[in-house]
Symmetry: C2
Subunit: 355 residues, 2 copies
DNA sequence: CTGAAAGCGCTTACAG
DNA sequence: CTGAAAGCGCTTACAG
């Protein structure tokens, strides 16, 4: 069924020229005479010729492909029917990267890694010649592995990937975001005692957010009790479970539970509700990311907005610059900003953003 | 910075063998003597050799790459700061496809198309030699365009892509899902009058769901008023706006608003709330898909569950079979099933699934 | 302005 | 069991 695709040789024969000339027509070489070009073009059209990008890539040493490596969901689908949480945040980055790559004529090769595959580097290694550069999310590569790849192919690290001299990094301003969040909670709502629901502990974004929260609460004279740092895994399902456990062992809740991302805030609010606690009346809850659905939650979620798609686009720009050997900052920090809604205690038209 | 990668020639020289032998070692040809193989392997390790998959692909006529084409979000980011809705449903399919492809040793090449690019077929065409097969979502290709591609490369259509003899289709059982939903609404809640919030009108899944709803309401003696068919676009933001407009022109609401997907249900519930209408007390609302967050909404969303990741995996299986010229059904219909929660009017432990 | 030829990095009959 | 050589589909100096 799959019929043989015509090659440049078929076109050349049909047009009565050499394959070199066909190639020139294909690549808009200006030296070509219009008549010749037309002849070739006609032959291409007649044969429905499509150039083979793989062959082109091999010959030119450039594939016009960007590789994107990410972790697949850390949650196993334990409960038979419950689909694993989708990590919305990552998905939006993927789309941002894809769109920007396409804008520059690149395709995106997806490559996922998982906990179950201890050798996170193997798939990357194998594909590394198929790709002109890598964008690596999360904890796919650890610090020692980065240089091994980046020696051959430029890498941009993002979305929680650790720092490395051997690669470029695009990160979000966790510190500024958390600082303005805490400042709002203290000034507008008189919050003194803070809790934190953590993402996967090794994740650099999680580490940064926790540290930022520690700094900010100290600065504002608030407190962050060790018992109110709830270990979790970025997912709603995990947050639901961990919040229950936390409620079981704590009688004395903080004024606010700062969650390291929106999805955990969703699970936490749900668990609190199931225990008869009302947000924000009994405890405030905040998120981080501002996923599209955050404003439709009940209560609408106060969170720190970051533009994941903009980060994805930025990562592509940095990568392209690196590929072209243009000067680029080693680390790019993208702005974040406080998005006030109702889960912090602010009032407003139902569903309106307060600020 | 990007250092030259060693080739098979470097390895051959170092190991003192021919490139043919290196290639055999690479491909586990059994005729190779163990000593020879070891010699080669050592040389590879010493040089940190990684085979070039592009060259391999060219030579073998097989790239070990599956292409996935999707539409990017139909919503333009009008409101300056509001990120376009992410189409969660598509993202989950992408992940399902990626995971299954990886399981079979294939990488995924992403290729998005958009309304703004009228020639939806162009990117597919250009990449078609880089890929061993296509999975095409949504309305990327119209019926006339399918054979043009599938003549050269097998195609699996899914997620709302139209039917075509020239391709395989993986679809969800819209009819069964809607039928059991209507049956529940009628039998358990005495619903008689139905409304429908539609996805993009051209979308085959939308067409199928609307038709299924028409059939089911007729069968149950319910009614579906034309004025209660609300045109929308699959997104929460769109649903919020359209629900408002609908409320403005209708005094007499139906018993239930059946939404063509979960995201629109979210927006609709939100808009209803803003107008002081309580779900399910004043009107029931249902979704379709069962996105992970559906159970955390307030009220928890009654919806028709489909497993998008399973559909993605199935699409890969069908594609691989087609590539191998194995016999496969032209259309595969995946099961859907009613997921009862609270937005239909059912009670239960807060947050527990009712059925 | 265009063709003949070598080369991109691999694979695979064909010999031996 | 292994090597020499042609080939996968393109590109690009080098001639002319």
């Amino acid at each position: 069924m799959a019929e043989q695709a015509p090659t440049i040789y078929d076109v050349a024969e049909r047009a009565g020229v050499s394959v070199a000339t066909v190639s020139r027509a294909l690549n808009d070489v200006e030296s070509l005479r219009a008549v010749t070009r037309d002849k070739v073009m006609r032959a291409m059209a007649e044969l429905d010729f499509v150039p083979n990008n793989v062959a082109r890539g091999l010959s030119r040493g450039k594939n016009w492909v960007i590789g994107l490596a990410f972790m697949h969901s850390p949650v196993k689908a334990n409960e038979a029917e419950v689909e694993a949480d989708s990590l919305l945040y990552t998905d939006i980055i993927i789309r941002g990267v894809e769109a920007q790559a396409a804008r520059h004529g690149y395709s995106l090769l997806l490559c996922s890694a998982g906990e179950e595959h201890p050798d996170g580097i193997a798939p990357l290694r194998n594909l590394t010649q198929s790709v002109d550069g890598w964008i690596v999310l999360d904890r796919v590569l650890n610090v020692e592995e980065v240089p091994e790849i980046s020696r051959r192919t430029p890498i941009v690290l993002m979305a929680g990937a650790g720092d490395s001299d051997a690669a470029f990094t695009v990160r979000v301003d966790n510190e500024g975001g958390i600082a303005s969040l805490v400042s709002h909670l203290v000034e507008a709502h008189g919050a003194r005692r803070f809790g934190y629901m953590s993402g996967l502990e090794e994740s650099p974004d999680n580490v940064a957010r926790l540290r930022a929260l520690r700094d900010a609460t100290r600065r504002w004279g608030g407190q962050l009790n060790e018992e109110d740092i709830v270990s979790c895994d970025w997912t709603s399902g995990g947050a639901e479970v961990q919040t229950m456990r936390w409620l079981d062992r704590r009688v004395d809740l903080p004024d606010v539970l700062v969650c390291a991302n929106d999805q955990m805030a969703v699970g936490a609010i749900h668990a609190l509700g199931a225990r008869g606690l009302k947000v924000p009346r009994d405890i405030a809850v905040t998120g981080f990311d501002d996923i599209p659905i955050a404003r439709y939650l009940t209560p609408a979620l106060t969170t720190v907005r970051q533009s994941s798609s903009a980060m994805g686009a930025e990562a592509v720009d940095v990568l392209l610059a690196a590929m072209a050997n243009e000067p680029v900052a080693n680390t790019t920090t993208m702005a974040s900003r406080l998005q006030i809604r109702h889960s912090c205690g602010c009032q407003g038209e139902l569903g309106e953003d307060v600020a």
